[in-house]
Symmetry: C2
Subunit: 266 residues, 2 copies
């Protein structure tokens, strides 16, 4: 088992661990005297058997749902609901049992702290819940790969890329590039460029359109994965290449003085 | 409905919107011509009826499970599984149907990008899935409040606070304070202070102990909430007080030159 290796480290080495933990689950803990039973055994592997059944969705329709849902449940849950509401209708379980609305807390970069943009977090949740975690076998690595692609695309795109058919705000919503997947940086750069305050209707509509933009791109990737044509686009492997988990915009926080992480002792 | 208000803004105003969206769900979208049905109707409100049944857990045992699980599913899923595996046994559904292992991607601050520490994300997922999102009524606001408390406690504590009974690494694991809920900052400061590399067994054990420390504190708060004695500890309201979603360590990225966000037009 690849204990302690980060996704980015693993991708670079391509070590396959097919089925290592998928069926054993946390039953292994019982041997350690903790008396925990296996969830996988208890439920017959239902929701933790990957991939979940997926049917291709219309990116445009998905984006419109995300846009509308933002005004009810905000960025993270809007992205999740834009996909899972449709799959609940087309497929049913296990989508209907996923508590999407619980993810309202992703708003504002997690309860307003400005960390990961909720749309990015929501997209990663969707991709990894459908395709599965990398520990479930190499075929499930596309979940994390699509998630990483979303982070990279989000950082590099002039957002929002999607304009709803009937926008709530008629004012022009300008596009800005964040160079970061963080809410604080993404929203901050947009606010600085546009002059709109955090509580303005325009800022809110901008974030609703960003959620819609992310949902659109997420479904494009999921559809390609379903078709067997998906290829990972992100090549960012910070742990193995930089020696630390990191974004790509080092100098925005560190200036020219980027600390050197401790090297591995050989 | 409180469309577009951030959690931190709302907390400061204490506007109650009891039951606003809980039962309507996304059925409202149907009126908009998108043809989406209501998940809540489809499943009878099962997993999106809050709070989920909770039974008090032993913080020490929970932390030991999180520590062991880190070596299988890493920080985020380890924290989720440390709570949900026990509740799957004590309570059963809806915990048994939650796909905890899908959250392996939270590792390394989300697929290695160093954003929100997976332990913090996992704790927020647990608190909000059990207690519910704030849009489900004022009694559900404690989910986001416990999540915010975890972010603040994590930022201010000398981590890790928990030492497992049988640690995998016998070397002393030093404690560092991150002043941030981000993986990059938390791991980076620990690496700098300790001299250990990202891929070292000591760094891995440090992060396993951090996951255990977060799980310990999460369960203490959940138990207090169950007893009716929980009181929100975090008072961080960045959107309303600072004009932007943000952490509290502004000068670590901005130096002395902190941009002024655009003010609300009156």
């Amino acid at each position: 088992m690849e204990g302690g290796k980060l996704f980015a480290e693993r991708l670079s080495r391509r070590v396959f661990i097919k089925g290592a933990a998928g069926t054993v689950g946390i039953a292994a803990l019982t041997a350690g005297g903790l008396g925990v039973f296996s969830k996988a055994e208890a439920k017959g592997g239902g929701t933790e058997k990957w991939p979940w059944p997926y049917e291709k969705l219309d990116p445009e329709k998905t984006a419109e749902i995300a846009y509308a849902e933002w005004y009810r449940v905000f960025c993270g849950a809007a992205v999740i609901n834009s996909v899972f509401s449709q799959l609940s209708e087309k497929v049913g379980e296990p989508y209907t049992s996923f508590p999407s609305d619980a993810f309202v807390f992703l708003e504002g970069g997690m309860v307003g702290w400005g960390t990961i943009c909720g749309s990015n977090a929501g997209a990663n949740i969707v991709a990894n819940t459908i395709i599965g975690p990398r520990i479930a076998g190499p075929e499930c690595e596309n979940g994390a790969a699509i998630g990483a692609d979303i982070l990279q695309w989000y950082s590099e795109a002039a957002l929002p890329t999607f304009t709803p058919k009937e926008p709530r705000q008629k004012a022009k919503i300008m596009q800005t590039t964040s160079n970061s997947p963080l809410c604080h940086v993404s929203v901050g750069k947009w606010m600085k460029a546009s002059g709109y305050a955090i509580s303005s209707p325009e800022r809110r509509d901008r974030c609703a359109r960003v959620a819609a933009s992310v949902a659109y791109n997420l479904v494009k990737d999921l559809n390609a994965w379903k078709d067997g044509t998906y290829k990972a686009k992100s090549s960012w492997k910070p742990a193995s290449n930089m020696g630390i988990t990191a974004q790509q915009n080092c100098t925005e926080c560190h200036g020219a003085n980027i600390p050197t992480p401790p090297a591995k002792k050989i």
